[in-house]
Symmetry: C2
Subunit: 106 residues, 2 copies
Amino acid sequence: MAAVAPSTKKAVTLFHALSDETRLELLDRLSNGEQCVCELTDTMKAAQSRLSFHLKVLKDAGLVEDRREGRWMYYSLSSQAIEELEDLVDSLKKAAKSAGSARRCC
Amino acid sequence: MAAVAPSTKKAVTLFHALSDETRLELLDRLSNGEQCVCELTDTMKAAQSRLSFHLKVLKDAGLVEDRREGRWMYYSLSSQAIEELEDLVDSLKKAAKSAGSARRCC
DNA sequence: CTTATAGATCAACATTCCTTGATAGGAGGT
DNA sequence: ACCTCCTATCAAGGAATGTTGATCTATAAG
């Protein structure tokens, strides 16, 4: 029992960050390695402020990290949050497996 | 490369379904076993139409299954979608690990 | 056939989220 | 100092989500 409950807020934040096509594409690009915003706006043909917004959402969720180098900002995947994600999904999985049988109701 | 890309739409749907406190609580309750809506509205002190709405979101995402028995509707976790979830998180994890080093930019 | 109960669906409203264009800040280069 | 480039932030509008109360459907019981 109590599969997802601990720190539900954080789970919501994490999952919300992942529930957007643009952000998933960003993560996908970053899986090829650290990249700067200019490169991302370039290859994704997206408005700079748009990507900046989504990168902030990802960063606030702990999914990516940023690093400044001169006037460029480099973003990369953060494996820490991804482990938290893994744990969440893990507890869900266990819950689904142990899923007890029906109880009489109402 | 290409960590999340395959069927991004589905991933978005899955993660979106998980990005809500009420829905996470529903999943948590269901991890104790199949339950009918009346029982859930009861213990969660939530309006019936509200839970119906959220259960639909979960069902559309494939996270839960429903079963009718007389006039009651029983909901339970569906382990299938949870495995898909696991795969998604897995590819993210691998991506984060292999995360290449910085490339020269702009 | 009438009535009651469980749940889904709908319409209206509130809220939250995303997009866009404009502005601001910070780092180099001249 | 100034100008330029890269990025973050803000404000305004639009789109999608969640909430609430009412209505509809299906099943069961009398």
